[in-house]
Structures are given as structure tokens and as C-alpha cells.
Subunit: 277 residues, 2 copies
Amino acid sequence: MENFKRFLFFVCAAAVVGSLSIIFVLIWVLHYKEGLAWDGGAAEFNWHPVLMVAGFIFLQGTAIIIFRLPWTWACNKLVMKWIHASLHLSAFTLAVISTVAVFDFHNSAKIPNMYSLHSWLGLIAVVLYCLQIVVGVFLYLVPITPVPWRAAFMPFHVFFGTLLFVGVIAVALMGITEKLIFSLKSPKYSESPPEGIFVNVLGVLLVVFGALVVFTATRVPWKRPNDQVLHTLHTNEGGDDNVKAGPSLSQQLSDNADADADATDVRRRISKLDETN
Amino acid sequence: MENFKRFLFFVCAAAVVGSLSIIFVLIWVLHYKEGLAWDGGAAEFNWHPVLMVAGFIFLQGTAIIIFRLPWTWACNKLVMKWIHASLHLSAFTLAVISTVAVFDFHNSAKIPNMYSLHSWLGLIAVVLYCLQIVVGVFLYLVPITPVPWRAAFMPFHVFFGTLLFVGVIAVALMGITEKLIFSLKSPKYSESPPEGIFVNVLGVLLVVFGALVVFTATRVPWKRPNDQVLHTLHTNEGGDDNVKAGPSLSQQLSDNADADADATDVRRRISKLDETN
């Protein structure tokens, strides 16, 4: 891997900032708020931020960069796909439980559901995330899907996955804003009480975590070697729009060892091209 | 250009959704709110959402995809860079005026400044955007910068530019949430009054606009042809991390015609590689 130290710095930074976010959200609900319970009250609501941060954001981020970890490159790609899918499924499950918690709390407290922009975009994100998982499983885990389809849809799978991850963080920031305005009364949010400042820092941590994950995931030289080959062929052949490139892509998808050799070959050839220009 | 009709659809959709967002924010402040003025009151605050949507979001989005429009590919790259920089500078100017409007309003109404997560992230975004413009001008418009540096920093320039664009939309969504909670009193936001629903739709439009712009900007086959070549060399040579690739990149940066020919050449060679596998 190129610039392994830099990669390591980014992955470690993401792990530290992500873990810090979870610690911050736990301190928020356990120290500043009513703690955690499943009683229809405020303590049940508190599962909402905890599960969203630890599940929908941290686990989703982990699922996104799992293919980038060079220690996993020796593993069978199918095993890695299952781990990737399982992490996303866990994130989705926690997001659903988290959503149930907030609906329960609202219903007990006679607060209307689904009126705010946060709730609209949050529900849209959960539904689209579910759809992304279903489509992902059928395209990349069920063996009946034609391999050219897999290659053709990969850029869209990656784009929508990243978009959803970023979107979920944006929705979390809106949720933090709502909760601080509603719950801080004396002193009010506008008087910058310690809780307000503390949770603002949590928001900043979530943004930094998102930026680190997306940066790590989108750096082409840090991709799993056979994915680098796929990327090269996509970008130079029109890839996702050019299904006729499929058959040879399929051979590479089905054989990691060959694909790794191809990666070296593509690099060598482009290197020569560069030298001759 | 590959899939020109699909590209046209995405660009037109972005233009329509972006324009709709501006119309929505104008209806919000002119019909539902106090209109526009520069008097330190609520009407001055209203410049904040209007200029943020029309300037910081719509103009910034336009600046991002301007290089993708094939009608501009015949133009000199330097001219296009100036247009790109001017659009970003206009977006920044409007963002600053918009920020002044909200500070003025807060000071007149004795509302504290800079206590909310929206204000923290908003100010961070404005400062980083300014920094991005300054660095961008020195790297890509001032002729003293060594060309290998330009090539080496390009992926970071693109990544941080996209990150800032997405970040600004997230901050806008938080701002909408704040404003609706604070300003809707009778009926309250939770009672879903027409204004609440209308502005929620504005929020959804901003998310769709962001998604369309980022999708259009990140599709490699839609890049300006010489940028496609650069992307190929980056992704296969480690590009931004491998400065020794600089000298030949510099030749391509300085000569659009050669670079276009190179694009065809790279495609042909990779196509051959694909066929032989």
C-alpha cells in the first residue's frame, strides 16, 4: 500500500474520533440527561442519540472503510463482503431500534411525530439505507446476479452508500440542534451552558469522523488492489455505463489473485505511458 | 462525452432543483416572514437564508460543476479556472454578507451570537471556504506555483471543495431547523403549520440539489477530457502522493490539446489491456 503511514494515521484518527463521539454521547445521556431505560419516558428517548451515534454512524463508517484495511486483503473477498453487509445490517438494526425509541417517547409524551425536517430526512435516510442493503445483497451476495451487472452498479452502490453516510451525519446534527433547543431551559441553549457546549463538541466530532471516513474511503490508492483495477477500467472504459466491458471484469471479480496481478500490470503500463509523454 | 443525455438530465435536474430552492426561500421570507430589509430587524435576518441558499449553496454548486459542462471544453482552461474562482468568490462574498446580517439582527435583538452548533459549524465552514479559495488561487491561478505541486494537491482541492459544499448544506439544514423552532409559535412547528411543511420541503430540495451536484462532479467519465487523463495517472501512479510523476503531468496540464489526445490514448491502451485479460 502506498503511504501506509498516512493511511494508518487517517484510520487511527477515524477510530479515535469515532470512539470519542460514542463516549461523548454516553456522557451526555448518563451525566447531563436522565440516563437509559425502556420505559416510554425521557430515558427511553436517550437511546435515540446513543444508538444513532454508535450504530448508524460509527458502525456504518466502519462498514465503509473495512475493505480499505490492508490486513483484510488476504481474506477471501466474499468473506469481506459478508462482514461489510453484516456491519451495515447491524447499523440498520440499531437505527430502527433508535427510531422506535423516539416514536415511543413521543407517543407517551403526546408529542406529534414526523413534523420536523430532522424526522423527514431521518426517515428517508433509514428507508433508503434499507433499500441500499437489499439491493446490495441481491447484487453482490446472491450468486444469481450477472457479473456485468455487479460491475455496472458498483459506482452507484459506492456513491449512494457514501451519500447516505454523509446524510445520516447531517440528520444527526439537526437532531442535536433540536434536542438542545427543546431540553435546555434554565439556563437556555443561548446562554451556552456546559451541556450545550459539550454537545456542540460532539457535533464537531461527528463531522470530523465523517470527513476522515469519506477521505479514507475515496482515496483510490488505498483501495483493495483488485478494486483499484476495477476503478481503472471503469474510469477509462466508461465502466458503469459500458456493459460490454463486463466479461473481462467478471473474470477479475471472480479471481482475487489474478486481479492483484492485473493491478500491478495496469500500473506498469500506465507508468510507461507516463514516461513516454 | 459518454452518456450525454444522462449527463444533461442530471445537470438540468440540478439547475431546476437549485432554482426551485431559491424560489422557495424567497417565498418563505417574502410571503411567510417579514420580507427583506437592512434595518437590524427580522427582515435583515431574512437575508441570511436567502443569501446562503442563492449564494453559498447555489453559486458554490455551479462553480463545482462548471468544468463538467462540455460546452466549456473548447474554452481555454485558464479562463475556466477564473470563472470557477469568480463563482466561488461571489459565493463567499454573499456568505459573508449573510453572516453579517445575522450578527446585526442578533445584536439588535440582544440575542447571543455563536452559541449553537449551527453557528459553530457555519463559521468554521466560512473560514475554511475562505482558506480553500486562497490556497486554490495560489496553487492554480498564480503562475509561480510549481506545476508538480498543482497536480499533487488537486485531489485534496477537489475533496475539501466537495466536503465544504456538503457541509454547507448540512449547516443550512440545521439553520432551517433552528429558525422553524424559534419562529413558529402559534401554531407551533410541532403542529405542522403550512410554513413548517413548506420550509421542510425547501430542506429536502437542498439535499437533492447537493446530491445531484456531487454525483455530476464525481462521475469520472463526465470530467473535462484532460482532467480524465490526470485522474487516470493519479489513480494508477499514486498521483498526489507521488511527486516524481510531476514533470510529465505538468506537460499535460500546460497543453490541453495534447492532453485530449492522451485521453484517447490511455483509453485505447486500457481497452487493449481489458481485451487481453
